[in-house]
């Protein structure tokens, strides 16, 4: 199987950056392999969750951020922590519950953060909650004039939580500089994606919130980086939140205790042939970005560093028992101070004062649209109850409450996916044989994976008119209201009249 990695490079990477990506992915993998050994030696206190096969996602996305930007990792985003500058000893000590860990042994895994230096929000085990929190981070960043981007990840599993939807709704309404990476690793613990959602692409959900979304091959670190960089740049330019769905595969069970016997073998085989690090090594060699000497040098450096870091962790003590009683409240132990990058006076009266009313722009157009759509056809439109706010001058970010769709971006198409020839004839993704997406058909003679994108299909912000997902007998296109026409209340009525 040969496949080109994403080309052309929209955001060209230097040789140094290319090698950085390799370093972090390999560091991520080697670190986790060491932790597997520690786990088997009973030196890991709790669970160990592997990100084997997903290194390109963590590294490629986080590498697109700047130092001032904020992340909130999920449990399989060790690579993102490393890119953010977290030393491997923090990962070791966290898992080993050592007193030297960032949480002093109060929590494990990737559950730690750093508000002041690296701008990392700690995750909790309840999925989805990081989405509203990082929306708030983005809102505060804008409020303080910091021009930051907030980024977090969610699995295919976590995308079913209420917090996911509430958070995205608020992020969209606020046009927050927030990037959500939906890390579709095919499995929520033991449940395949097809058992969770009836849609092929989780990125399609973006349209429901008015959030532009993209799909990218999660095992192609360059493609992941490029998609993330574009999304981050768009966010920073004030064009609202972004979603990127990365298609990848969890190559181990949910955690160490889980042998993942429920995963069809051919699925592992397919993805094993698409290992992100192997693919990237090949890419670096074929493009003459490195040679064996450069690789050996990086690999040796990783070994050296991890030796030191692991020894530090193993030699560290467990926390003293009395620590359990400390730190429930902040009793002056932290100084809370916002980092203002704009004039405070802009947010204080009289500058902040506004006329507190809702304004309706262009009433005749509003009423005509309402009448034409069939709601209250014979009488004038009812009093508007849901109209965009006239944005006050002091709130530039709110000037367009409805996010404009992103321009089509040819450079974001994962073209290599279209050109891809899968190594195995059928890719189940845990789906049953009834799944049309995987059936051989004239349109799909080679049984390509269903998410394979044709070059014409735009990743970011697909036009709902182009691709209606309503294939019902009446074929009523969804998204009518995007054209200014409200949904009809009666689905039986094609005209939308009652």
């Amino acid at each position: 199987m040969t496949q080109p990695l994403t080309q052309p490079l929209t955001h060209a990477l230097t040789r140094e950056q290319h090698l950085d990506l390799y370093y972090y992915m390999q560091l991520n993998r080697q670190l986790e392999e060491r932790m597997v050994r520690l786990f088997r030696q009973n030196k890991i206190v709790g669970g160990l969750y592997s990100s084997l096969g997903q290194e390109a996602v963590s590294v490629g996305t986080c590498y697109a951020l700047e130092k001032r930007d904020w992340i909130a990792p999920m449990i399989r985003n060790i690579g993102a922590l490393l890119v953010k500058g977290v030393p491997p000893r923090d990962i070791f000590t966290q898992h080993m519950a050592k007193f030297t860990s960032p949480t002093l042994g109060k929590d494990g895994t990737s559950h730690f953060g750093d508000l002041k230096v690296r701008h990392i929000v700690s995750p909790i085990s309840m999925l989805g909650d990081l989405i509203p929190v990082m929306t708030g981070v983005a809102m505060a960043g804008r409020y303080l004039g910091q021009n930051i981007v907030a980024l977090t990840w969610i699995g295919d599993g976590g995308s079913s939580t209420g917090a996911f939807h509430e958070g995205l709704g608020l992020a969209a309404a606020q046009r927050a500089a927030f990037v959500l990476i939906i890390e579709n690793n095919q499995w929520a613990y033991s449940t395949p994606v097809s058992r969770q959602v009836p849609i092929q692409n989780l990125a399609d959900r973006g349209a429901a919130y008015g959030i532009a979304s993209a799909i990218v091959d999660g095992n192609d670190v360059v493609a992941v980086y490029q998609a993330a960089k574009y999304a981050v740049d768009e966010c920073r330019a004030g064009r609202g939140p972004r979603i990127i769905e990365v298609k990848t595969m969890r190559m181990r069970g949910h955690a160490q205790h889980d042998p993942a016997e429920y995963v069809p073998k051919e699925m592992f085989d397919y993805w094993k042939a698409r290992d992100p690090i192997t693919l990237y090594e090949k890419y670096l060699t074929e493009n003459k970005i490195w040679d064996t000497a450069a690789k050996s040098e990086i690999d040796a450096r990783i070994e050296r560093e991890l030796d030191v870091e692991q020894k530090f962790a193993e030699d560290s003590p467990l926390p003293p028992p009395e620590l359990a009683e400390k730190g429930v409240y902040c009793d002056g132990c932290h100084k809370i101070e916002a980092d203002w990058k704009r004039a405070k006076a802009d947010l204080m009266p009289p500058k902040s004062s506004i006329d507190p009313t809702w304004r309706l722009k262009d009433l005749p157009a509003y009423t005509q649209a309402t009448i034409a759509s069939g709601n209250g056809a014979k009488t004038p439109a009812p009093a508007p109850v849901s109209v965009p706010a006239a944005a006050p001058a002091s709130s530039p970010a709110m000037q367009e409450p409805v996010p404009a769709p992103a321009p089509e971006r040819a450079d974001l198409q994962p073209e290599h996916l279209a050109a891809e020839e899968p190594a195995v004839p059928r890719v189940p993704f845990g789906r049953g044989p009834k799944d049309k997406a995987f059936r051989q058909s004239p349109e799909n003679p080679q049984n390509k994976p269903a998410y394979t994108r044709a070059p014409k299909e735009k990743s970011f912000s697909r036009n709902p008119q182009e691709k209606s997902f309503s294939k019902g007998p009446r074929n009523k296109p969804f998204g009518k209201n995007a054209q200014g026409k409200p949904f009809t209340k009666n689905p039986q009525d094609k005209q939308g009249r009652r």
Binding site: H111, D129, P132, Q146, V328, T357
Partner: protein, 339 residues
Amino acid sequence: MSHTAPSASSKVVPTSGPITMVDAIRQAMFEEMERDPAVVAIGEDIGVYGGAFKVTDGLLAKFGRERVIETPIAETAIIGAACGMSFLGLRPVAEMQFIDFIACCFNQVTNFVAKSHYLWGAPVPMVIRGPSGGGVHGGPFHSANPEMYFVHTPGLKVIYPSTPSDAKGLLKSAIRDNNPVLFFEHKYLYRRLKEEMPPGDYTLPIGKAIVRRPGRDLTIVSYAAMAHTAMEASVQLAKEGIEAEVIDLRTLLPLDKDTILTSVKKTNKLLVVHEDTRTGGIAGEIAALVFEGAFEDLDGPVARVTALDTPVPYAPPLEERFLPNTEKVVAAARELAKY
């Protein structure tokens, strides 16, 4: 063409004379937002409309949309966003339209907000405030007293004031506190009493109870609307020659153990009155506290008058049966005084 809806009334906060609890809370928010641009308000309908109970009326006009953030109906998003904002050093005041709806964001409050400082050293300086309590025929979903879920959650502070000046002083302290504070506002008290505000930048320490009425025969511990019920009962009891000492807790977490124990050691009898349901209400915790710290001083059993262990019913006769009232408190105190 531009069409302008009638301007919402922008209430000016009274600057002198007695004011209601609604006005006192609004005044606290005005003063804190004027003092510190890091203070922002977030919630449903808190801007143009001024909040369901008009607590935030006028804030939008003065502070603008960046500081008075109207949200979708999404309590988890409200609390999550406020938490995220606090990580960057802001001090958000989040409104639950009715405190009952805090159940919708229970996970965000108890797992994310409450645990951040203990686990990874991230203080969350935010306030969650909202109208609570019954007695106004709001029915089962608009009358709740869910404070004990949060008193049981380490990392939070829980305030439940009973007077306008306490509400003002404690809300200002809550906004300045480095920890997440839940601020319960009993809606029965919102407009039923008026009080002159102490002058200047008035704050009250969190975690300090107050003795509303000194007495020698028994101690009645209460808070919020029931503090007034306890006071009414104490007047009636005085006519019968029973001098009750009435303690208003004001803060439920951290609990002011000293004030309770000092009083019980003096009166030797304890009656706890709360509007929360009986099982798992704070009366049980206070009873345990007194057994641990003043068992040998007790001359009788710890008594409690609470709401029934049911949801808050809607029909007036049912709600009256559900809630504690002066008669029930007097009767219980009379029994206790016999020991």
